[in-house]
């Protein structure tokens, strides 16, 4: 049974159809890539899967449970986490506090009014470890909005990882990064696949073809091709589209 299965999702905004019968599945342990041009519906697809929008038709199953149209909170509590294309952090908290508020102990006991977080050294140490995993060691106490762009990108991923998700969605993690920053994130994502199942949207196609087990190509709100990188290279549709040049 796939970990996540989306069946014939349909979503429109007014007259515009953004997702047209999109089906999609992720197996536990996979790293799946989603590519497609701007406006193809990739981010909308993520938003439907993670509870931001409700699809008009279709179903989403996570671990056999129907999560279609569930709220972001419920989906997150089921074990799905995500990062955002435009960064979305707790800007006036330190890097460490950004991670701490997203960790399981704070989610499960968000209404506890006893026990000081500052004195919980085990929790602090785990958060610091997570920051060090994404390459932010030594920057624990820097305020999020003061971090450099690349560091913010990494913190965005650390916050998404903090609830120990079983499935992690990354929305264009390398957006706006230079070559060096992109390499740093590639290395990070390669590492993360040991910990959890990942679905990543990317513009940077060589990057995706290098790391993904399988890739879905979304265009005009539809999945026009999917398969392993090798299969896609051989696909006549992909070869004929503007992706072909990059893939070949």
């Amino acid at each position: 049974m796939p970990l996540l299965e989306a069946h014939r999702l349909h979503k429109r905004f007014g007259q515009q159809i953004v997702l047209d019968d999109v089906s999609f599945a992720v197996e536990t342990g996979e790293l799946v890539g989603i590519i497609g041009p701007n406006g193809a519906g990739k981010t909308t697809f993520f938003n439907v899967l993670t509870g931001r929008y409700r699809p008009e038709r279709g179903e989403v199953f996570f671990d056999g449970r129907d999560i279609t149209g569930a709220s972001a909170m419920h989906i997150a509590r089921n074990g799905i986490s995500r990062s955002f294309q435009l960064m979305n952090l707790f800007d006036s908290y330190s890097a460490l506090d950004n991670v701490i508020v997203a960790m399981r102990p704070l989610i499960n006991r968000a209404f506890r009014m006893t026990g000081q977080v500052r004195r919980d050294s085990a929790l602090q140490a785990r958060a610091a470890q997570l920051l060090s995993d994404v390459g932010l060691a030594g920057k624990e106490h820097a305020v999020a909005k003061g971090l450099a762009y690349g560091d913010r990108r990494c913190l965005e991923i650390a916050v998404a990882l903090a609830p120990e998700p079983r499935l992690l969605f990354l929305d264009e993690p390398t957006a706006g990064m230079g070559a060096q920053g992109a390499r740093r994130l590639t290395a990070l994502i390669e590492q993360l696949r040991q910990r959890t199942t990942i679905v990543v949207i990317e513009h940077d196609m060589p990057f995706l073809f290098r790391i993904a087990d399988r890739i879905s190509v979304i265009q005009w709100g539809q999945v026009i091709a999917q398969g392993t990188p090798a299969e896609l290279r051989a696909d006549p549709w992909v070869a004929r589209s503007n992706l072909g040049a990059v893939v070949a």
Binding site: T50, G51, S71, A72, M73, A76, R77, S81, R82, F84, N88, L89, F90, D91, S92, Y93, S94, L96, D97, I100, V101, A102, P105, L106, I107, R109, A110, F111, R112, M113, T114, G115, Q116, V117, R118, S121, Q124, A125, A128, S132, A137, G138, E140, H141, V159, A162, P163
Partner: protein, 330 residues
């Protein structure tokens, strides 16, 4: 890998000590600076109210512009309870807290899915509703005259009864409550709930995607803030020995916002207390010269919001930082 250093604990004890010491000694020195004991009692009550309000506005980022309703409901609840035979001081204060929190929960159920201007507008609407009811429900609230002759029962500690009939005695009773609640609020900010509240303030959407119940966090903090406003209102009913509709008016709801913002509640825990002192003393001093003191105070408020949104506490912090930097350079 270098060992991770925990962040230095923010300092609380110093400010706490200074505030309590100044309040506690006020009966001694208030007279010599030309003020009077009742003023300190009023400052204390407003400080308590403003600290509770700042939990909502400063720490939760939720603008309630009708908070006077909960202060007023607390005053009426305490007044009505204490006018019954055999209702003691503690029961009266518990009634103030309980009824204000209950009304707060009712209002919070309608507004907690909102934020920003819509949140503010809905709190104004509920505030006006409470004010209107307090005037119209004559048989219970006494209408425009309000509740008069609210008794001040003695504080029963089991082994001894302390009379609160003097302003000084009531002042120390209020100071004790203030000391407990100020400490509890400070403590709360660093608990899991306090941290999650800060996260919801900064980014509701991200908090929801982490799995937090944003609605319930906003609901809870509103009820807590209303409970404290209710207690302050109960103390006010004791201080004035009455409860009247004016405390629920839009003006009165505005005062607490002005106190918190001028004092600097957005940048400092003690900002609301500074603001309450500043407001009440300004009212007395400016009020002695001119009937239109609120005009001048309002202009001052506009100046602060425009040029110094961090308020008085922010100015103090800036001054301190500047002095420190000078020390480093020399």
């Amino acid at each position: 890998m270098p060992a991770f250093q925990a962040a230095p604990a923010p300092r609380f004890a110093l400010g706490y000590g200074v505030v309590l010491a100044l309040f506690a000694t006020s009966p001694v020195w208030l007279g010599t600076v030309g003020l009077y004991q009742y003023l300190a009692l009023e400052v204390l009550i407003w400080s308590l109210y403003a600290l509770g309000y700042n939990l909502l506005l400063g720490y939760g980022g939720l603008p309630s512009f009708g908070h006077g309703a909960f202060f007023g409901v607390g005053a009426y609840a305490a007044g009505l309870a204490l006018k019954q035979p055999d209702v003691g001081l503690v029961a009266g204060m518990l009634a103030a807290i309980g009824v204000a929190a209950g009304f707060g929960a009712f209002v919070a159920a309608f507004i907690s899915h909102r934020r920003g201007i819509y949140y503010a507008l809905m709190t104004i609407a509920f505030g006006q509703l409470a004010w209107f009811v307090s005037i119209m429900w004559h048989s219970v609230t006494g209408g425009e005259d309000g509740l008069l002759n609210v008794p001040r029962p003695p504080l029963d500690l089991g082994f001894i009864q302390v009379s609160l009939t003097s302003h000084a005695a009531l002042f120390y009773f209020a100071l004790t409550l203030f000391a407990v609640i100020a400490w509890a609020l400070w403590y709360l900010i660093d608990t899991p709930f306090g941290r999650v509240l800060g996260a919801v303030k900064q980014n509701e959407i991200r908090a929801a995607y982490c799995g937090h119940n944003v609605w319930l966090v906003k609901f809870t903090v509103f009820v807590l803030s209303c409970a404290i406003a209710g207690l302050a209102g109960g103390l006010f009913a004791l201080a004035q020995q009455s409860a009247y509709p004016n405390v629920m008016s839009l003006n009165n709801s505005g005062y607490v916002v002005m106190m918190v913002l001028i004092g600097g509640g957005l940048v400092s825990f003690w900002g609301p207390v500074i603001g309450a002192v500043f407001f009440i003393v300004a009212r007395d001093l400016l009020g002695a010269y001119t009937e239109t003191w609120l005009l001048w105070y309002g202009l001052l408020f506009m100046a602060v919001v425009l040029f110094k949104p961090e308020g008085i506490a922010g100015m103090i912090q800036q001054l301190r930082d500047r002095l420190r930097r000078r020390d480093v350079i020399q």
